[in-house]
Symmetry: D2
């Protein structure tokens, strides 16, 4: 419902609404995938080798979740905050996508999570480029 | 990606995975709609009459967001926590759905948000029923 | 600053402000202790035996965090939401306090976290009693 | 309990533990002050003139909350994420401190919130400097 909600926004938004909606959806999907992947890692017998993955998952979930909320508010007055937060998000998604990607062959949940991270990283970069 | 992630979970889940995935997706969609609706209300010239709506939106967003994270972990050992949290969620969604619904004719964002709240309320009730 | 903030609140609050401030502070301290304890558990060589602890920690952190935000808003109109959420909090704190308490002799971070959980559980019960 | 928890951490932390604990405490206090200030603003009769304040409060609360969680995990492997997130936090605290500060003479809750924002901004800058 992200796009329908944005379409009804009663004021100006200084960004392409479709691009913003796509980014919000990618952030939300990534946060959920990371939360689920952390829990799945905790259920693996090899959990001792997956602690770095659990942590990057949790960091990425927290950062994507906060970023989704912040960019859902069209505060406008200080684009630098959104921009820096999106940059932190790009880094967290890159880091988590790499970590999960490195054992994607072993754990199917890591493979799917890596995909969500990469899609989110791309969406954040895209929105950053559109912000100029 | 909620359902694909759940399908790869490496341990038992004491719940129907499709029903759980549908609830998580409804919780996430509702949290996002409420965050966006609160911000849209703040942009209305009639904001002074919408403060109750802003607050129920924020409460509902926080409760749905936390519930999504908790039910995404398949901790199992204490279903009472998930159950009580889902009950709080049902109440928050009911309250926010009613509030947003009451001025759905005036504000399109409230109409969409009320829909998201009702869908989430129904999904939480459904999961609660399945938990027995 | 929780109490000074509550003292400046420009409208009525249907609760003892000192009791409410004490509960908010206990919720915040518990959320932080649980986040830190989950991470400390992930750094233990015996992490494979601590996965249940990591999960209860994360659930408790999420529930306490959301509850702190919700009771910091003085929505009033529907005390049932706050009440049910506080009940979920009591259960989560009890569960996490028991789990952390069970290996408090082994891990100092679990001992401190169990204390934070018990203090938070008591504060939530106290506020629930005051809500009638 | 932030410092006692950090003192029991079973692995190395590449940062001064007292400085890290002080920053986490400042982040948590700022998030709480901003959540409470947003709600107090919604209770003012002049709410229509305070919508920017409500929004900066909410952004600042979300960013500080996520940052507190991330820096409470001593992941270490990628300090760039923490650094960028702390930079977003500095900006959010600066923005919210300025906004709240601008009507501190009118609203006592804004005065206290501005203080919390400035203390948090200083703590984050201090930690950033220590990270090198």
């Amino acid at each position: 419902m992200t796009m329908p909600m944005l379409e009804t926004y009663p004021a100006e938004i200084n960004l392409d609404r479709a691009k913003l909606a796509a980014t919000i959806d990618a952030l939300i999907a990534c946060a959920e995938a990371c939360t689920a992947c952390a829990d799945a890692c905790l259920s693996e017998s090899s959990v001792a080798e997956l602690t770095k993955c659990v942590r990057t998952n949790m960091d990425c979930a927290d950062i994507c979740g906060a970023t989704a909320r912040v960019v859902s508010r069209h505060t406008g007055y200080d684009a630098n905050i959104s921009r820096t937060l999106l940059e932190a998000c790009v880094m967290a998604c890159k880091s988590c996508g790499d970590e999960c990607g490195s054992h994607a062959g072993m754990h199917e949940h890591c493979r799917i999570c890596a995909e969500a991270c990469r899609a989110c990283e791309a969406a954040c970069r895209d929105l950053l480029a559109a912000m100029g």
